[in-house]
Symmetry: C2
Subunit: 286 residues, 2 copies
Amino acid sequence: MTRPARSGPARPGPQPGDAMGLRSPRVRAARHLAKRSFRERDRLFLAEGPQAVREALAEEGVLTELFVTSQGRSRNPELAALASRQGAPVHEVSGEVMAELAQTITPQGLLAVCRFVDRPLADLVAASPRLVVVLANVRDPGNAGTVLRTADAAGAGGVVFAAASVDPYNSKCVRASAGSLFHLPVVSGHDLPAALATLRAAGLQILAADGSAASLLEAAGGPDLTRPTAWLFGNEAWGLPAELLTLADAVVGVPIYGRAESLNLAAAAAVCLYASARQLRAGPAS
Amino acid sequence: MTRPARSGPARPGPQPGDAMGLRSPRVRAARHLAKRSFRERDRLFLAEGPQAVREALAEEGVLTELFVTSQGRSRNPELAALASRQGAPVHEVSGEVMAELAQTITPQGLLAVCRFVDRPLADLVAASPRLVVVLANVRDPGNAGTVLRTADAAGAGGVVFAAASVDPYNSKCVRASAGSLFHLPVVSGHDLPAALATLRAAGLQILAADGSAASLLEAAGGPDLTRPTAWLFGNEAWGLPAELLTLADAVVGVPIYGRAESLNLAAAAAVCLYASARQLRAGPAS
């Protein structure tokens, strides 16, 4: 079942109002974007739901194609209209086709094909960020997307997906980011030691978050969070291996006041990033 | 296929070393505990993996039955031995049966049947907690379990599942709690207004977390976090409805420094609970 997407016998083109079927070349091409290899070949990804579509349309040239159900269009007529004004084809599809494309249990009737939005690390650094997140070996796309959303909320200047971390364009990561993938610079596929060296050269201290650290966040003897900081977060299950911890200026743990062994990645990142955000705003202690 | 679990023709009982099959009455009874109705009928639930089993065994009488694969037993011989010493039957099952029971993609070879561990609200209040979490309409079991784990890490004295929140014994909630379900008092099924009145009478201020709040966490004019606090968190998608907000002493938002619309529930809870934990330890400002 690998018919080439754009061949086959000549047929009349779709008429306005015709809903595209599962076998239509555009639908088939979009379905391929569920796979990382096709995303990387085409440098395109899928973003589902009105919030993500709205964010994608905020910068012209990001959204290349929009799939809508009739209900999705009638609920968000301004989004389909804006996509058209930006020159993006808008395809009406059935609920069944949308469910296939959206990979969610309750698709919201709008699905965008978008150009990759990641940028070179040099762009991120050029904006002199004071708070950056670096993900190393973060494998769960929901976790990565949640950290991206939290980094955005905390005012971070960018998120670097490094060292075999999940693809930021994975549909679960896009969904968990709740639009934040479009908000702040995302850097993907960068070598971790080189990325950390670049961030340090840009004046950021590198703090590795690790549950076993002797130094605790916001405790006496902990790192100075009023300094510009790149936070390094590791894998959900095994954290940061020793050779990555040595790349940081300090290793810092979130204090555990109760009987839990640790926090999960997204919660630890929220606590660390908000501690930094607050102290960066408060400025150095006199 | 609804053969009564404990009838059928007389057969010789299982011999030591026999692996139990999917049709064995014990396995069938345990499988039923995947459903809330059966859990509530028997006041029993399933906890999977060595960490959860270890926590369940920490207090005698919680674990009533242990299923192990041969690999699970050989990796954690002390857990199977301790279960036996506590008088709990230990059943050896195949990997296939474990996969059916554990409802995870990668079961870890150990699965406990446990007695419900929730307690009356009066017990929670009797310990004079200074930090409590109340969940209202939290529907995602992974979120609820993560908040439970974070509450434990932040040193909270209990978590109340109220107002149509998910069942704390849902397998995804148990898993996401990473053992914390066994660590701190959990109260389930309590009426929300009554629970808040009881907590207030015990000297806790009620703070409702809401993204649209005018008052911001740790900002000028925000609530005094050095006071004992019960944090009220609402539904993942729609937050707290107006009639619940009015039950709180104050409504508080986590500041958003970037372009994200909001934080997700687990991240917001982590930021709020750690702000409280830190300020409760620091004591009132002079």
